[in-house]
């Protein structure tokens, strides 16, 4: 299954949901970011989908699904009151032009300066980029949602990207199931940590260098 709802992935989505502010226009990437909508509660945010929707609502029951009203992963969606529909040209003008308050993106790797790689694995065929580079370049604020380590245990927070970069603009925040980092002046700062692990234990599974915030807080949902 493409999007298994593991506790780790849900934890990341729940934590990022707390970053949503009333009035925000938010673009959610595929994978973990797509789960955030379920945890938005009664926050008044407007979800944008790059195929031309502002005001994406929850997934409809299958019998009400319309496959001409889909999100970025071609998943059926609904519209919220006041939603608008437009073409891809207007949608990317919105993204590129800095009109999206927050983009939440999955990533293969993030380096210690906050640079993001989220479109191609090293050496693999480079056949899909979608809107990822437009979102990195154009969104006002970027939060990366990713598991702390790859399936083989390799850290995803690295010193230097092994995967090709998605752009020169850095993430503002990186949320994994173990920790929350903020990026300031191209440095990772540990802001929150899972109360079950120590900073040293976190460093052991994090290749990137990071500073520890003097106000380090426990990572809770």
């Amino acid at each position: 299954m493409l999007n298994p709802r593991t506790p780790e992935r849900e934890r990341i989505a729940k934590r990022i949901a707390r970053e949503l502010r009333d009035g925000d226009v938010v673009n959610l990437g595929i994978g973990i970011p797509s789960m955030i909508m379920d945890f938005a509660g009664d926050k008044k945010v407007f979800f944008q989908s790059e195929n031309g929707i502002l005001g994406v609502g929850p997934t409809p029951p299958e019998e009400e699904a319309d496959y001409d009203l889909v999100g970025a992963s071609r998943n059926p969606v609904t519209l919220t009151p006041g939603a608008s529909l437009f073409d891809s040209c207007a949608s990317f003008a919105m993204i590129r032009g800095g009109h999206i308050d927050l983009a939440v993106l999955g990533a293969l790797e993030v380096d210690e300066t906050g640079e993001i790689a989220n479109w191609a694995a090293p050496g693999a065929s480079i056949l899909g980029v979608g809107g990822s580079m437009d979102l990195v370049a154009g969104a006002r604020r970027i939060i990366v949602a990713m598991l702390h380590q790859a399936k083989n245990g390799k850290p995803k927070l690295v010193r230097h990207l092994n995967c090709p970069t998605s752009g020169v603009k850095r993430a503002d925040m990186v949320v994994t199931e173990k920790a929350v980092f903020v990026v300031r002046d191209r440095k990772l700062i540990l802001a929150e940590i899972d109360p079950g692990i120590t900073v040293d234990e976190l460093r052991a599974v994090t290749e990137a260098n990071f500073d520890v915030s003097p106000r380090l807080a426990p990572y809770t949902n």
């Binding site: 989908s49 790059e50 195929n51 031309g52 929707i53 019998e63 009400e64 699904a65 319309d66 496959y67 001409d68 009203l69 889909v70 071609r74 059926p76 529909l85 437009f86 073409d87 891809s88 040209c89 990317f92 003008a93 993204i95 590129r96 191609a120 065929s125 480079i126 056949l127 899909g128 980029v129 979608g130 809107g131 990822s132 580079m133 437009d134 990195v136 370049a137 154009g138 090709p164 970069t165 998605s166 752009g167 020169v168 603009k169």
Partner: protein
């Protein structure tokens, strides 16, 4: 209606070697009747300009299976395994363009603009070899317009002049592609009299539309299925 022709006649306008713009995001907004007919023709070496190549055996996946496509320009080809395999065998050339740059390049072609500079993709593999320019202290990369010979688009309704409206999120690339080819052919679900569409609801004015075909698919339960009698 002067512009109304059959899907079979419409695809006769397409020649081997043409650059073909095709609308659709996944299968939503894909002119499937036109593609079905084109897949039956001996038309080859097409350069297809489309965000993606349908799914396995559906939409543009049919043209790929029939080996009619030489090159594709778009943003997302990893979800159709036939595309990946054709590329790995060296049978298909792929030019990958970020989705927003792709659609804006099509807009430029249709609007008589000789390209534009964008921040998207600066510093990445997709900007390599392209002209860069610093504007207002920030680095931008140049993108040329992307136009074509024939555009195959999918709209919801046409009036008898060829004015078009699109259905929900099935607009996607269709509205802009309608402007960017020598010949634009629109596949629609329904044709109404001129005057039946409100002027302010028309999304593509008829000036952009050369031919209209009535689609051979109908919407049932949220998905398109072959129209009875055309199965």
């Amino acid at each position: 209606m002067d512009k109304l022709i059959s899907p079979a006649d419409a695809v006769n306008l397409i020649r081997s070697g043409d650059r073909l713009l095709v609308g659709g995001f996944g299968l939503s907004g894909t002119p499937r009747s036109l593609i079905d007919k084109l897949a039956e023709r001996d038309v080859r070496d097409l350069t297809v300009i489309s965000n993606n190549l349908g799914t396995v055996g559906q939409g543009l996946g049919k043209l790929l299976a029939a080996r009619q496509i030489k090159k594709v320009i778009g943003s997302y080809f990893t979800t159709n395994r036939d595309v990946v395999q054709a590329w790995e065998r060296g049978e298909l050339e792929i030019e990958l363009v970020p989705q927003g740059t792709f659609v804006e390049a099509i807009r430029a072609a249709g609007a008589g603009i000789g390209g534009f500079y964008t921040k998207t993709a600066v510093g990445t593999l997709l900007a390599e070899g392209k002209e860069h320019r610093v504007i207002g202290g920030e680095t931008y990369v140049f993108q040329e317009p992307i136009g074509g010979d024939v555009a195959l688009i999918k709209a919801w309704k046409a009036d008898t002049l060829g004015n078009l409206v699109y259905y929900k999120a099935a607009n996607n690339f269709n509205q802009v592609m309608a402007t960017a080819a020598r010949i634009t052919i629109a596949e629609v679900d329904e044709i109404v009299e001129a005057g039946a569409l409100k002027p302010e609801e028309i999304q593509t004015p008829h000036v952009y539309v050369d031919y209209v075909v009535l689609g051979e698919y109908v919407k049932v339960g949220g998905r398109y299925v072959a129209r009875p009698g055309n199965a």
